[in-house]
Amino acid sequence: MKRSRLALSLAVVVMLASPAAAQKGLTITIAPPADAVTMDPGRSTQVLTVNYFVNLYDTLTRWDNALKLQPGLATAWKPVGETAWDVTLRSGVKFHDGTPFTAEDVKAVYERNLAPGKTVVTAGFATIDRIEVVSPTSLRITTRKPDPLMPVRMAQMGGYIYPRRFASDEGAKELARKPVGTGAYKFVEWVKDDRLVMEANREWWGWDKKAPAIDRIVWKPIPDDFARLSALQRGEVDVITNVPPDQMKIVKTLAVTSSRFAVLSMNTTQAPLSDKRVRQALHYALDMPSIVKNLYAGQGKPFSGGAADTDFGYNAALTPYPYDPAKAKALLAEGGYAGQELTLFAGHGTMINDKQLLETVADMWTQVGVKVKVEMMEMARRQKMNNDRATPPNGMLLGNPQSTLLDIDGALWRIFHPNGFNGKYWAENQPGHRFHDLMEQARYTLDQKKRKEIYTEATRIIHDEKPWIELFQEVVLYGVSKRVTFKPRADFRLVASEMTPAK
């Protein structure tokens, strides 16, 4: 009896061990600062969580490493008339659980996204009127008004496709714990706040007949910057995010200028910030190149006009205001600055060196005679200030928006739209009206050339009006071990199928 049990357990061990022995690819460990909040792509747009989605799920269209729009689960899309798009889907694709992928799944996911209150991604899909399944591999999307961004919307957050049985309330609950997609990696296990394991989906259409270079990904959240850094140095993890720029020399890093930019949103309803000249003066008083060079180890790019250079609508003709304290003082006097105190707010952990950044900005403004105070808050309080649109008059809040559509419609117009965070503060009597009309017009213009022209004028208004303080485009900075390498993406996504073993 005993012997047979031993034999049995030996057999089990051999059975368990043999597939592992057959694996030749790499297992890598990625350490983000926080765990994913859910595995349901409808329920989170938070950058860290979306990094999990992008590996598990596919979208109809997708941005490649250079942020060019490429076919994903859709192989072709074309506009039909002003308000409809015909989309052809990839055939022969299977979900991780074996069920075939069809147009019905896309319809179910998009309709769930559109249903009010079911997901947090509704805004990005709100232009869609209805979706019709034409055949298992083709569908027609009809929009309420002409929507030039439809192909881009299919790549955005929330566009991740899962089997239609998960689109119900009950199904979504299951999906949140056990994700099923068509993506390059499939879910293995999730121990909350400890690890989430994925393994390569060898049937993925995107491998292009090559074997996956990374066989297994272990996500291991480490909240503390210092602990994360030393985990990498000890060789416990292979990829870490949010490396403080000053630590770049200590570990091997990969960097790229991101689509995210740092700004100080401000309440411009009262003097002195209601005066354009004062807002311009504040820009002339900032030595942005020095801040980027010293505080961010040169990793960052000053910008102007409200658009990152990765986005459609970026206006290269607009150069950031130069550092000119004398001009700043003159403009402050002209604008009638009379010693009012400005308050700079930021949540702890908004971005790398956030507190130091505000201290430096405050110091530079003090140099030209502006009274400034800094107030750091807990993230929950910051979130409340942001959600309630509650920045006090002459207060400024540090933020780092990013266009979810890689088009300025998804950042500038999201924020300065009357419903957006800054829409409330940009007072009525300012050229905001013209800006408002332009952005609204661009939103429904299918002709890309025309749109570009409209955006050129709109960004010029932002460049001149300065309704927020434009700091710089952030850099994405990863620390990597000797085992793995990849080309970092400007959109902050960590895509394991783009990673390769380091030589």
């Binding site: 000053d246 130091q356 003090t366 800094v374 107030e375």
Partner: protein, 271 residues
């Protein structure tokens, strides 16, 4: 006996009071290009920045000096507030006993069982961080100790003959409390408060380290330590000097408390 422990404390007070005249540079203005400069005895150090510069190029020595002002001010105010409130509550509850006493004692037990940092985070998250809020939060953290000790003392003192005699002679409650009981316990309050100053300096540093305390760019030892934490390998001087300052002052205050107890409390004096 009081001189040795008093040295770091008096030095800190002098530095705190004289900060505008003593500090060689502005604590809040720095040249970014001259950041992370080592102290003077290093090859790269200069006499203009004796203890080096921090990550924004500000003078570490000047921040230390101005930080003393903020840290000591907050600690002293919070101690006085906590000691006054705690002693008064202890005095009243110990004297009257009864229902008030039971309620207050329960309150004290509840607060002692509640983690202080959590309480502080909750209060500061709602009220927003500022120096007055910080003083009040720290006072909330310290009144319990005073209240408990004073209450215990008063419980036994009120049965003493001289108190009973005063009552028999028709003395009113305020007179008994403040003429007969307070003088008896005052020296003890001073001793506890002295120990508390040290504890509160540490607590203030803890809160500032967590980002809940003094707001930038105002220098405080705790918030400077927070900035320094991640730079320990590149710029040890940023963490070392504020850390040493906290240690020396707290050690001094504690030794001073010991010495004061010996002087003020006749029972511990050797015959």
């Amino acid at each position: 006996m009081l001189i040795v422990p008093a040295v770091p404390v008096i030095a800190a007070i002098i530095v705190a009071v004289g900060a505008p005249w003593i500090a060689p540079a502005s604590p809040t203005t720095g040249k970014l290009a001259a950041r992370l400069q080592p102290p003077v005895w290093h090859e790269a150090g200069t006499w203009a920045r004796i203890l080096g510069t921090d990550l924004l190029g500000r003078d570490v020595l000047s921040r230390l000096i101005w930080g003393a002002r903020i840290s000591l001010l907050i600690a002293l105010l919070a101690t006085i507030l906590g000691a006054a409130a705690g002693s008064l509550i202890g005095l009243v509850t110990g004297y009257y006993r009864g229902r008030v006493d039971r309620v207050v004692t329960k309150l004290i037990d509840v607060q002692l069982a509640f983690p202080f940092v959590l309480l502080a985070i909750a209060v500061i998250a709602v009220a927003g961080p500022s120096i007055p809020v910080l003083v009040i939060v720290l006072a909330i953290g310290s009144w319990v100790g005073h209240a408990r000790i004073v209450r215990g003392l008063v419980l036994s003192l009120r049965e003493r003959d001289y108190v009973q005699a005063a009552l028999a002679l028709g003395a009113g409650t305020p007179r008994v409390l403040f003429r007969h009981l307070v003088p008896e316990i005052l020296s003890l309050i001073v001793v506890i408060a002295t120990f508390d100053v040290g504890r509160i300096i540490i607590l203030e540093s803890t809160l500032s380290f967590l980002g809940l305390g003094v707001q930038p760019p105002t220098p405080s030892w705790g918030s400077d330590l927070r900035d320094a934490a991640i730079y320990v390998r590149q710029a040890w001087w940023m963490a070392t000097f504020p850390g040493l300052a906290i240690m020396l002052v707290v050690l001094g205050v504690n030794l001073l408390g010991d010495a004061l107890r010996d002087v003020l409390d006749p029972r511990t004096q050797k015959i």
